[in-house]
Amino acid sequence: GQQVMQIPQYQHVQEGEDFTTYCNSSTTLSNIQWYKQRPGGHPVFLIQLVKSGEVKKQKRLTFQFGEAKKNSSLHITATQTTDVGTYFCAGEHRDSGTYKYIFGTGTRLKVLA
């Protein structure tokens, strides 16, 4: 079946340091989404990448979709304590005419003040 792995599983950084999480799919994806889940909260949509090699920025966050559309990355510059949470990528897969999202294993980020 479809698998989406993320590394690292955990990351502790000092406030102000950069952070990157990598997402790898076992199959080619039509697009990929990123979600953030704060501790005790629910996943919240951040961004969607559709094109091969696409790069998108949201303030301190930079998202990239690989050329082969099988991997993606999220980079946060100068982390802040508000960045704490688990970051999930989610790959879109077609299943009998319906599109569904398979979540990656997630990267849990802790930011030390």
């Binding site: 919240v44 949509f45 559709v50 009998s96 599109y99 569904k100 398979i102 294993t105």
Partner: protein, 116 residues
């Protein structure tokens, strides 16, 4: 505030009980989803409804029974659950699932289920 409302927020039930989780959205979305999330794990897809019809069942045990009475409501009926079914159950909605790249998921806050 989330635009997808789930009730109850917390539920404790015995293995012989019958209970239901409810989900409501008023964004005009025509696709609704149930996900199960165990602690420190990613959300795991259970069911997808598209235009009120069940379109995906990810081989979920029959003790979980979904229902979509109308385009705004989604229920998950629970019966004869096991302690290992204890988890956070997340409802989500999106625009229809038949177009690639069109389906941004909006999640509810979840129902935390404990099975004794």
């Amino acid at each position: 505030d989330t635009e997808v409302t789930q009730t109850p927020k917390h539920l404790v039930m015995g293995m012989t009980n019958k209970k239901s989780l409810k989900c409501e959205q008023h964004m005009g979305h025509r696709a609704m989803y149930w996900y199960k999330q165990k602690a420190k794990k990613p959300p795991e897809l259970m069911f997808v409804y598209s235009y009120e019809k069940l379109s995906i069942n990810e081989s979920v045990p029959s003790r979980f029974s979904p229902e979509c009475p109308n385009s705004s409501l989604l229920n998950l009926h629970l019966h004869a659950l096991q302690p290992e079914d204890s988890a956070l159950y997340l409802c989500a909605s999106s625009r229809p699932t038949t177009v690639a790249g069109a389906n941004v998921l909006t999640f509810g806050a979840g129902s935390r289920l404990t099975v004794l």
